[in-house]
């Protein structure tokens, strides 16, 4: 990371130390994000008080980056996975009955606002646009949550929102212009072979170099096929590839390990054949 950013990051952490109650939400991500330029962009934007939207295809490391950013800023993480039925109560909160009275039961957005957390809005374009309208006042200059019948919840100065989206995925929608304008958008580039190599090596430290190279080759082949519309994105599964590499390291035949974690996940016979052919060229 750039030196000036590191200094400012340290200042930020000193200025906004996380409360003891939420220390449990500050966890080190299992994998380090690989891609310095993108990391610099994201850190700069967050230091400037911006919320960021990470936009990119499958296996580009959107969630890994989000988790890494929260760890770098030492902020508690609040995760919201968006789906078609996400509504304001899921995000902000809803009524509950405590101590003989009806009170607001805070949702993840409200909690992040109170404790200066990093709220990760995963697959934000899966929700309907009217459901996320409640986020507008949170994301813009007002920085507050106004729930009818309750006091306004002001936003902690360290609170940031990191949204992720995969454009053009089945089930996704166009994001509303008003919502997009409240984010700084970072386009996540496809992982390069060298980055993948570092990632796989970090994930499966005992893996043989040969196996890592084969897995990378296969991943790149399948990714290219998906990008060009020859197959769906189902087989482009980095988690599956890591699992396959683990099994190979554990002594399973590479072809079987890939079948278990990649090929057999194609339930469509047509796609299965195309994927199996590519696997056949890479693994004996």
């Amino acid at each position: 990371m750039r030196e000036d950013l590191t200094i400012r990051l340290e200042q930020f952490k000193k200025q906004y130390a996380a409360e003891a109650a939420v220390q449990g939400r500050i966890t080190k991500p299992p994998v380090e994000f690989i891609g310095e330029e993108i990391l610099d962009l994201a850190v700069s934007a967050l230091l400037q008080g911006e919320n960021i939207l990470l936009c990119g295809g499958k296996a580009t490391g959107k969630n890994i980056l989000a988790d890494n950013l929260a760890w770098l800023f030492a902020r508690p993480v609040y995760n919201v996975s968006f789906h078609v039925n996400t509504d304001s109560s899921t995000l902000i909160g809803t009524d509950t009955f405590v101590g003989g009275e009806v009170r607001l039961r805070n949702g993840p957005v409200a909690q992040a606002a109170q404790h200066g957390g990093f709220c990760i809005l995963d697959e934000i374009n899966m929700a309907k646009n009217d459901a996320v309208v409640v986020m507008h006042s949170v994301l813009d200059y007002r920085r507050l949550i106004d729930v009818p019948g309750y006091e306004c919840i002001p936003m902690h100065p360290a609170t940031r929102f990191i949204a992720t989206m995969n454009y053009g995925y089945a089930g996704t929608r166009e994001l509303n212009e008003a919502l997009v304008s409240r984010f700084a958008v970072i386009r996540m580039p496809t992982l390069q072979p060298q980055q993948l190599h570092r990632l796989l090596q970090a994930d499966v430290p005992n893996a043989a170099e040969e196996h890592i190279d084969r897995c990378i080759g296969l991943f790149m082949d399948l990714n290219e096929k998906a990008v060009n519309g020859e197959i769906s994105t189902h087989p482009v599964d980095l988690r599956g590839m890591i699992a396959a590499l683990r099994l190979m390291t554990d002594g399973m035949r590479p072809k079987d390990a890939v079948a278990l974690n990649i090929t057999n996940k194609c339930f469509d016979e047509y796609e299965y054949q195309l994927v199996q052919d590519v696997v056949m060229t890479r693994f004996v």
Binding site: T94, R105, A170, D277, M280
Partner: protein, 582 residues
């Protein structure tokens, strides 16, 4: 554009995914292997992909063409080049793709066991057999061992052959590789193998210059044929057996088709400009050069004429009507079941789920529980479902293979359409068949037509061929423009996409729409629509032996319905389940 396994590997191994045609001499060189099927054609994709990556197919083609101009016999030079190219690709790609030699061995085994290239029938072919058994000793069989005995006393030739092929691995570019093949041509083939014509068949007509095998007729020699209403449709099995055949129509016959279609299927409801636009979008790849006709069918007056054609039209409609009348009770039941299946699926998707919780919307009537119950659950948690709208496209295969069950197909499509009208889901019903170079999409009702339009489906008649992939692509254009959240395509077919009749014969024309090529294309179009968010369901109306094709095309999203009564039982339930999965 659809891709098959060979093309898929070509694109992957070449590391260039832009769609492109093989250059002419590359096409001639690889054609026999690509047509051989099985691992031979799949491995051919690796060879061509590797050739493109290492040398560039255009470069290779350029150097082959230069030798053609220098009067080299391409029937000899191309197979030699193929041997050299295969060897180089296998050796050079083995590090990066260790599975390639295994695929090569499997392809070699198929070449030796089934001899699809008829290698056993010429002494030049014996050299290929020698090379395959030399490279993959485990693939040698009794027959190849017997043939190789003929080389007894020519060991020095075989040694030279092996040495020269192995030297091709040092070739740095396309020119060097072709020159290596030329060296083999000069040192081995022209020296030791005089042209062997003992098994050649003399063509009836003069051949075009560069054909690999003398099986194609020169374009001007194709017999003109008149359009015929009872154009036969070959069964898939037969189609795959005779994949090199197919019928080609003359220019005159093709020119007569639009008028014939207008008389027999009705005029187009699209403007010429719109039609050109649609054709430009969907008539690509294997459908290149094909045409589309969107029609609302013939006017009622066409059914009242005294001509034989009007008689045939009336007979079809009457038979369909009779079928509906005979099955009136079960049809009513069927409509109800389909309605119920859709309603169940949509209701389950649309109804909000409400359950008691300790947070959510306060329920006043439950407040008495405070202080009296341990966990009073005073709130309703409302889980709002997807309040989305649905549009359906019903596509009916109207090819000749459906003629035996024409009335049943009409009845089943009618049941679906009537059920969708009953629950007010906008839907369009079209049948499709291919006649000559035209694919006719006959619209029975449009999305927002009134329920009365459903009965138009009884005008359905089965004739000619079917290009399922093209019909799906063409129908998808309008469907994708609709604003509804959920788009569903239901295809009634027998899992036999098949169009034996080609348009104009010309060099570089797309593959014929039969056998595997047709199935692959339909698979591809289904996946393409699915990628664009359309749910595609197949209703299978064919015989047991075509079930596998249907499964291949539609994956798990297909239903088999034999009789109208089936909707009341398991088929209705299955439909509901399939819709719920969408």
């Amino acid at each position: 554009m659809s891709i098959d396994r060979e093309e898929s590997l070509f694109l992957t191994v070449s590391e260039d995914h832009s769609k492109r045609k093989y250059p002419e001499y590359i096409l001639l060189m690889s054609d026999p292997y690509r047509k051989a099927g099985g691992m031979i054609s799949v491995y051919e994709g690796v060879i061509l992909g590797g050739g493109d990556k290492l040398f560039g197919l255009d470069e290779l083609n350029l150097w082959l063409r230069r030798h053609r101009y220098a009067a080299y016999d391409m029937h000899v030079l191309l197979p030699i080049t193929h041997i050299c190219l295969e060897y180089v690709v296998r050796k050079k790609l083995a590090d990066e793709r260790p599975g390639v030699p295994v695929m090569a061995e499997q392809a070699a085994r198929e070449l030796l066991d089934y001899d699809p290239l008829r290698l056993r029938h010429s002494s030049r072919g014996w050299m290929s057999i020698y090379w395959l058994t030399e490279e993959f000793p485990r693939t040698a069989n009794e027959e190849s061992r017997r043939i190789l005995k003929n080389f007894s006393g020519f060991e020095h030739v075989l040694q030279l052959f092996t040495q020269l092929v192995e030297e091709s691995v040092n070739c740095a570019d396309a020119r060097a590789l072709v020159e290596q093949a030329v060296q083999l041509y000069k040192e081995i083939f022209t020296k030791y193998f005089a042209p062997d014509h003992s098994h050649d068949e003399l063509p009836v007509f003069e051949l075009s210059d560069d054909l690999w095998e003398g099986q194609h007729l020169a374009p001007d020699q194709v017999q003109p044929s008149e359009p015929d209403d009872s154009q036969p449709e070959l069964k898939y099995k037969k189609a795959s057996d005779t994949s090199a055949d197919g019928m080609e129509l003359s220019e005159e016959a093709l020119a007569a088709i639009p008028e014939y279609l207008a008389q027999n299927f009705g005029p187009s409801f699209q403007t010429e400009k719109a039609m050109r636009e649609i054709e430009r979008t969907v008539c690509v790849g294997i459908h290149e050069g094909r045409k589309l006709l969107f029609t609302d069918g013939l006017p009622e007056s066409a059914y009242k004429e005294a001509s034989p054609r009007a008689g045939a039209l009336r007979a079809c409609r009457d038979a369909n009507l009779r079928m509906l009348e005979e099955h009136e009770n079960s049809a009513r039941q069927g409509i109800r079941s389909i309605e119920q299946a859709f309603r169940n699926a949509l209701n389950l998707k649309n109804d909000p789920e409400i359950y008691r919780a300790d947070h959510g919307v306060l329920v006043n009537s439950a407040l008495w529980k405070v202080g009296r119950c341990k966990e009073p659950q005073l709130f309703h948690k409302v889980f709002r479902q997807d309040q989305s709208t649905v549009v359906v496209e019903l596509l009916i295969d109207a090819s000749g293979s459906q003629a035996v069950r024409q009335s049943m197909v009409a009845l089943q499509s009618y049941l679906f359409s009537a059920a969708l009208s009953g629950i007010q889901i906008p839907h369009r019903v079209m049948s499709y068949c291919t006649y000559g170079d035209h694919t006719v999409l006959r619209r029975f009702r449009d999305y927002d037509d009134k329920p009365e339009a459903d009965r138009k489906i009884l005008e359905y008649r089965a004739t000619s061929n079917n290009r399922d992939g093209l019909a799906l692509a063409a129908a998808g254009i309008d469907l994708l423009k609709r604003r509804e959240d959920h788009k569903i395509v239901i295809v009634f077919s027998d899992g036999l996409p098949n169009d034996m009749v080609s348009g104009r014969h010309r060099p570089g024309a797309p593959e014929k729409y039969i056998g595997n090529a047709a199935i692959q294309d339909t698979c591809f179009q289904v996946r393409k629509l699915r990628r664009e968010g359309v749910h595609v369901i197949g209703i299978f109306l064919g015989d047991d032996n075509e079930l596998e094709n249907e499964r291949m095309i539609y994956g798990s999203s297909f239903l088999r319905i034999r009789r109208a009564e089936d909707f009341g039982g398991s088929a209705g339930k299955r439909l509901s389940e399939t819709l719920l999965l969408l």
